[in-house]
Every structure is written in structure tokens, then in C-alpha cells.
């Protein structure tokens, strides 16, 4: 059978840094093909080449047996390739429908005018199987991350492509939404559409992919059939070593470090109250839009609460980010690109930002000290490529995340607020981050982990809060933490 898509011997370098060494990949019609690898392995680069965002230095692309030249996103879409990008690629001021039809507006009046009405109808139709609650006329920047990611998926479905590349389409989604995506993907595959699926969530990959290509450091390692190949073997191929699975360990003490009481803001968060102990890891689970992100932002002082207090070590802390940071709180935001990184600045600067004063003497930054500390921290989380003087924007998404976490380690934060900490992070690094969380707990820090991945919540938490429609619906002690329990409390009784 002629493969639907074949990429052969793709090479790509950024300056002197070679990131793809002759990688090849083929996908059959109707096949769902995984593209796996650690952070920085070159998955996004590969897909960006396929979708015309980047141009390859060497290599060929064939679609349905015919060689194609993909020089721009436009020519990619003409060739029948659509892509869901890892980072949200949206225009903030435009509506959902306009974003979905960006660059391919439906027209009327002989092509002169945009056909808003049809765009909205079509957008609604595209979104229906994924999330019917999204208002297609709302500006995209009024949506939550998860919804925006769903819009990105809808955007890729719009084009009736022969090949759809999905670069971590579910990094912000909960299993419920993933289930819906699975249905959509199955329908697409049934129509003969080929899908390349990138994800760090192994369960997802094993559920939908028939085969997978595995990359390591820009080189092709293996092509495997799924789910025939066992998970540990796939992971070993990705990271080049076996990952040992460690059981959860608790270091929680009795000493209350953080006390949240009556925290409210509109309908997003209503009367949240809980305490967090020294050495404790508190998981917060809930459906998309249940208010977890907003709760963390209120605690971190990023948004101001309408009511309620936050106390650290028994002392109430004033509002405002700076006061909260001073009191020992630090937020790793959910939307990295918008709220996390300063793109053009090197990793060191991004890491040192909250603690610049600590790294200074007589008002002058001690660069060497900052750099040493940054390297120390990044070594621990295995930043790749390991060059802390490069602008953070040139790192892969997962590696950017590591640097943002490193920021609070460098600031010697006491209470870590992690919002989807492993979003876009590979299995190897994920394990490292779990270890890190555990180590922080052991050192007597306190950690809150908001996550849409139930296994993750279960893996790291000593205690779990379940949020539902802005309220804390349940508190689960260690013995009660199970997927079924969490799901039971998370889903609104309609």
C-alpha cells in the first residue's frame, strides 16, 4: 500500500545546533501514528517542518506517493496537511469562530466579505463533538486554556485535511475531553485521514495509536507497533534507560504552613478554605473550568480576591503577588507562554527573576553565582540542550517548563503552587519532577499540585481536594484517593 505520508531523511539545525539527524517516518491512510520522545527530542520540529512552519535543511516529503514541496503553512494546507500546534496559536482579540477560520475565511458577496454567519455555524458544528459549551462569538482571550486548546483542535479539523498532525493536543485537557477527542479521531481515521499524534501521556498514546515512531536527541530510534509493544519498553526506547517506579511517600507534618479561608472571586471560586501542612503535597483535582487555576491565582496574589484571607505560618499575608512571594509562595502558571516565560531572555534571567535581589550584592547581580545556581538546578531537571545562556524561547516546551519551576527553587520558595506542572513534560522528566516534588516535601516545603491527570494527582498527593463549579466539593485523605472517588465528587450532579 502506498503510505499516506512519508517523511524521509529529514535534517534540521538551528544555527550550529542540529536537532534532527535524518529522521524518517511513514503513516498509512487511516492510521493513528504516535511520535514519541523526550522533551527536546525534535517532535515539534518534525511536525513544524511537515506543516510548513519551519523548512527542513534536507529530506523529502511524500503524500500519497507524490513528492510535495512544503514551503509555507499555506502550501502545507494546500497539500492537505493540518496541524494542532503545541503552543496555542491564536489571535487574542478575534472571536473563536474567527480564530478557527483564520487565514481561510468563509466568504460571501463574491469573495469580498467574510461570511460571519456561516463561519459561526460551521465553528459550532466543529466544536459540537468536542465541547458544545464554547461560545463561538466570544473573543478567544476570554476563554480558559482548556477551551482554547479545544478551539485549536477544531481549527485543525476545519480544513478536511488528509494528514493531521497533533502536537500535544490534550496537554491541558482532562480525561473527559480526551474521551471526546478519541471519538473524533476514530471518526477521522474511519474516513481515511492519517493522524500523527504527539503526547507525553502514555495511556493516551496506547489507547489510540496503532504504531509509533520514537525519537531520541533528534535521531530515529525505532518504529514500533502499538499496543503490542509494552509500555516500559517504549519508555526505555525514549529515554534510553529503564525508569523505576517509586511508590508515593509522605513527609507531611502537623504544622500548618498555609491557611486559606473564605477565598472567593465571582463564580469561579467560592468560599475556598483549607490548610496546607509543612512537608505536605496537596493535590487539587476537578473538571476543566472547575476553578482550580483561579484558586491558585488567588492564593498567589495574581488575581485579587473579593473575600477571604491567606495566612502563612499563622500570619495573614497582604494581597498582591510581591507580598505573597515574600511570604514564601510561588506560582508555576498553567499557560507558560502567556504567564510564564520572558521569551527573549536567557534561561538564567528567567530563573533569577523573583530572586534577583538575593543574587545581587551592592545592587549588582552576581552573574556567576546566578549562573552556577541555574546550572545546578537545571542539571537536576536535565534541561536540554544544557545551555542556560540561551533565550528561553528557543527551548522546547517541556524544557521551558523546567526552567519556570527552577525559578522558584532558586528563590527558595516555601509553598509551591503548581498548575499543571507536567503539562508538556516527557515521561522521564515527569518522573524527575515527581521526585523533585517529593524532595521538596522532604525538605519541609509545602506543595499544591493542580492537575488534570488523575494518575498524576494520585501519584504525588498526600491529600486531595476535589473542586466542582468553583467550590471545594470534597477532601480525600490518603486512603480515599482513587480515580473513582475523585471522579464521583468532580462531576456535578445535574
Amino acid at each position: 500500500m502506498i503510505p499516506r505520508l512519508s517523511l524521509s531523511q529529514i535534517e534540521k539545525a538551528f544555527g550550529a545546533h542540529k536537532v534532527l539527524h535524518g529522521v524518517s517516518l511513514t503513516v498509512q491512510p487511516g492510521e493513528v501514528h504516535g511520535l514519541l520522545g523526550e522533551n527536546g527530542a525534535g517532535k515539534s520540529t518534525m511536525l513544524n517542518i511537515l506543516s510548513g512552519v519551519l523548512s527542513a535543511d534536507a529530506g523529502q516529503i511524500e503524500i500519497d506517493g507524490a513528492q510535495v514541496t512544503i514551503a509555507s503553512p499555506r502550501s502545507a494546507s494546500l497539500a492537505g496537511v493540518a496541524m494542532i500546534h503545541q503552543e496555542l496559536q491564536q489571535v487574542p482579540e478575534l472571536s473563536v469562530a474567527q480564530n478557527i477560520y483564520l487565514g481561510a475565511a468563509l466568504r460571501r458577496a463574491g469573495g469580498l466579505l467574510v461570511d460571519r454567519a456561516s463561519q459561526q455555524t460551521e465553528a459550532r458544528r466543529l466544536l459540537a463533538p468536542l465541547d458544545a459549551s464554547i461560545d463561538v462569538t466570544a473573543p478567544i482571550n476570554s476563554l480558559r486554556v482548556a477551551q482554547r486548546q479545544i478551539v485549536e483542535i477544531a481549527k485543525a479539523l476545519r480544513a478536511n485535511a488528509r494528514v493531521i498532525a497533533m502536537d500535544e493536543p490534550t496537554s491541558s485537557l482532562t480525561p473527559t475531553e480526551f474521551d471526546r477527542l478519541v471519538e473524533v479521531i476514530k471518526a477521522l481515521a474511519a474516513r481515511g485521514v492519517s493522524i500523527i499524534y504527539v503526547s507525553h501521556k502514555m495511556d493516551e498514546v496506547f489507547r489510540i495509536c496503532q504504531s509509533a515512531t520514537i525519537l531520541r536527541d533528534g535521531r530515529l530510534v525505532a518504529r514500533v507497533d502499538l499496543p503490542a509493544t509494552p509500555i516500559p519498553q517504549v519508555i526505555a526506547l525514549m529515554v534510553g534507560r529503564e525508569l523505576s517506579h517509586v511508590a508515593h511517600q509522605s513527609f507531611a507534618s502537623d504544622q500548618v504552613l498555609l491557611q486559606v479561608s473564605g477565598l472567593s472571586r465571582g463564580r469561579a471560586v467560592q468560599n475556598a478554605a483549607f490548610s496546607l501542612h509543612k512537608g505536605e503535597v496537596l493535590g487539587i483535582a476537578g473538571l476543566v473550568g472547575s476553578g482550580r487555576t483561579e484558586l491558585l491565582r488567588l492564593i498567589a496574589g495574581v488575581d485579587s480576591a473579593e473575600a477571604g484571607t491567606v495566612a502563612v505560618n499563622g500570619r495573614p499575608v497582604a494581597s498582591g503577588v510581591r507580598a505573597r512571594i515574600k511570604a514564601g509562595l510561588g506560582l508555576v502558571p498553567e499557560e507558560r507562554k502567556r504567564d510564564g516565560i520572558i521569551r527573549h531572555r536567557p534561561v538564567t534571567s528567567n530563573i533569577g527573576l523573583p530572586a534577583m535581589r538575593q543574587f545581587s550584592r551592592w545592587g549588582i547581580i552576581r552573574r556567576t553565582k546566578l549562573r552556577t545556581r541555574a546550572e545546578e538546578l537545571m542539571q537536576e531537571v536535565r534541561l536540554r540542550p544544557f545551555d542556560v545562556s540561551k533565550p528561553i524561547g528557543s527551548f522546547s516546551g517541556g524544557n521551558q517548563q523546567k526552567a519556570i519551576i527552577g525559578r522558584w527553587l532558586a528563590a527558595d520558595t516555601q509553598i509551591y503552587l503548581f498548575d499543571e506542572p507536567t503539562r508538556g513534560i516527557d515521561v522521564g522528566a515527569k518522573a524527575e519532577i515527581y521526585d523533585l516534588i517529593e524532595k521538596l516535601a522532604q525538605q519541609g516545603k509545602a506543595i499544591i499540585v493542580v492537575s488534570s491527570e488523575l494518575p498524576e494527582v494520585i501519584r504525588v498527593s498526600d491529600r486531595v481536594l476535589v473542586m466542582r463549579e468553583g467550590r471545594i466539593a470534597a477532601e480525600l485523605a490518603a486512603s480515599e484517593i482513587t480515580e473513582a472517588n475523585i471522579a464521583r465528587h468532580a462531576i456535578p450532579a445535574s
Partner: protein
């Protein structure tokens, strides 16, 4: 999900953001109405509109450029260049319709040069159009030797000095152009491209928006609008001067910004810009009516601009 798609009553179209700007205008107007009996007369209000029309014309183009993430500092000199070239064609006997068309083409050509350096050359809009600011002015001066050109045909001048149902023609022309700009921005693919390229150029590129062409279009429209403004002005003044249009760029940018355009790109409104122009026009008219001394006019202008923005901010929230 709002089910109302068509028809749109006008008021519903005036967005909340524009309402803040409008309030600023009404406040300023209110103050002048109290202080000067002449202010609220129909001829004076028409006068304000007429005097705002040149700036409005420039500001319409500027708004599109700003929305697309750029800036055009060269509008004044482009206007001067098209004015002297257009006028000299007329004086040389070219039928004025043809001369005007020629001038408009020259305006677009200037815009094209700016746009090409920005879109293809990859240079910063500010610096390109700052270079253009010197360049086009120099061309206008060299072409005329610094002399104004007089003797424009009466037929042409009648066009700009006439009225339509009592409304001065320049106001009518600019109103039509404003409607065109509004349609382009809000109803056509090009308008979405402007917003997309200004709001998130990377996303726009990835989505297959023709970023280069979009930028070119923005600067060419700006050049065209500068040429139209030039034609209106030389018609009214009866002379084309190579020194025309000094500081027009600041007025136009101010009007756009007052109207809610963000100089970071991706945001702006045609209606807001028009209100911004009228605010600036009202300011000048009112201060003249009150015969405020030169230094204090300057003072009032500075304070009122800032206060209007603060009111706008306070009312429109964001």
C-alpha cells in the same frame, strides 16, 4: 451564544470601548458649550467636522496600520509629495480627475515602498517610516524648490469647497472613506488579517495569513489616505506646499490612540478613531472660540488629552 446576527442596529454596533471615548467627547463638548455661546451652533459644529476631516482621513489609514502592528510616521511628507505632484499636474493642464488619480497612485506607491521595506526588508516600521519622513519631504522640496504651487483649477477646488445637503464635501468624502475602512476592518478577510497580523503575527503566519501582503496593504492604504487628505487640503487652500503636513503623524496617532487603538497592534476601532479626531478638532475649535492665549492653549491641550484618556479608562474599564 448570541443568536442576533442580523440586522444590527447602529447603537449595538458602537462597542463599549467606543462609548468611553464618546463620553470623553461629550464632556469636552459640554464644557465648551457652557463657556461659548457659538460652540453649539450648527455652522460651528460643521466647522469642527470640516476641520477634523483632514486628520480623520490620515487617522483612518493610520488606524489600520496600527492595528496591523505597525506605525506610519511618513504620512505628512507623503501628503506633501502627492500634493505638489498632483498640483503641478493640474497646473500643467492635466485634467484634474486624472491628476487626482495620479496623486492617489503616488500616495499608494509611497505606502508600497514603506510596506516593502517593512514586510520584505524586515525592518522596524518606526525606523522605515522615520526614514520616509525625511525622504518624501526632501523629494517634495526638491521637486518644487520649496515654493508652493498656486493656480489650481476652479473645477477641482469646487469639489472640495462644495457642500452636499449642507454638509461640506470634505466631511462627506471622509465619511464615505470611514465607511469603507469600517467595512474593510470588520467585514472583509483583509480586516481579519490586519487584526491577526497585529495581534499575533506568528499565529497569523502559521494559519496561512499572507502576512507580507497584509502589511503591504496597510501601508498602501495609509499612503492612499494621505494622498486623499492632500487632495482635500490643496483644494481648500488653493495651494500645494512642500512643507504641508508637518506633525500630521502625531495628530493621527493621537486620534487612533484616543480612539482605543493599541500601539502594540491587534486592537483598534474605526469609530473610536473618528471620535478621537473630533475630540482633537473640538479642542482646537473650542480653545480658539474662547480666544485662549497661545501658551494656555498648549497647556489645555495637554491636560485635556490626558484627562479624556483617564475618563475613558475609568468608564470603559479595560
Amino acid at each position: 451564544m448570541s443568536p442576533v446576527l442580523t440586522p444590527f442596529p447602529l447603537l449595538q454596533r458602537i462597542k463599549f470601548r467606543d462609548a468611553g471615548t464618546l463620553l470623553g467627547l461629550l464632556l469636552i463638548g459640554g464644557v465648551f458649550a457652557v463657556l461659548s455661546p457659538t460652540f453649539l451652533t450648527a455652522p460651528n459644529l460643521l466647522n469642527v467636522l470640516q476641520q477634523s476631516s483632514i486628520n480623520a482621513c490620515i487617522a483612518l489609514g493610520m488606524t489600520l496600520v496600527i492595528i496591523s502592528g505597525g506605525i506610519d510616521l511618513s504620512v505628512g511628507p507623503v501628503a506633501a509629495l502627492t500634493a505638489v505632484l498632483g498640483a503641478s499636474m493640474m497646473v500643467a493642464g492635466v485634467p484634474f480627475g486624472l491628476a487626482v488619480a495620479g496623486a492617489l497612485c503616488i500616495g499608494m506607491l509611497c505606502g508600497f515602498i514603506n510596506g516593502a521595506l517593512i514586510a520584505w526588508g524586515g525592518l522596524q516600521p518606526f525606523i522605515v517610516t522615520l526614514g520616509g519622513l525625511s525622504l518624501y519631504r526632501a523629494l517634495a522640496l526638491i521637486f518644487t524648490g520649496g515654493q508652493p504651487i498656486f493656480g489650481l483649477p476652479d473645477g477641482f477646488r469646487a469639489l472640495t469647497n462644495g457642500t452636499l445637503a449642507g454638509v461640506p464635501n470634505p466631511v462627506v468624502i471622509v465619511a464615505v472613506l470611514a465607511i469603507c475602512a469600517w467595512v474593510i476592518l470588520n467585514k472583509t478577510p483583509l480586516g481579519e488579517y490586519f487584526m491577526a497580523v497585529g495581534g499575533n503575527p506568528e499565529a497569523a503566519r502559521i494559519a496561512g495569513v499572507p502576512v507580507t501582503l497584509t502589511k503591504l496593504a496597510a501601508y498602501m492604504i495609509s499612503g492612499l489616505m494621505a494622498a486623499v487628505a492632500a487632495m482635500i487640503l490643496i483644494g481648500r487652500l488653493g495651494a500645494a506646499e512642500p512643507t504641508m503636513g508637518t506633525l500630521w503623524e502625531l495628530d493621527a496617532i493621537a486620534a487612533s490612540a484616543i480612539g482605543g487603538a493599541s500601539l502594540m497592534g491587534g486592537r483598534g476601532s474605526i469609530i473610536g478613531t473618528l471620535i478621537g479626531c473630533v475630540i482633537l478638532g473640538t479642542l482646537r475649535n473650542g480653545l480658539t472660540l474662547l480666544n485662549v492665549q497661545a501658551f494656555y492653549q498648549l497647556l489645555a491641550t495637554g491636560i485635556i488629552i490626558i484627562v479624556a484618556m483617564l475618563i475613558d479608562k475609568a468608564t470603559s474599564g479595560k
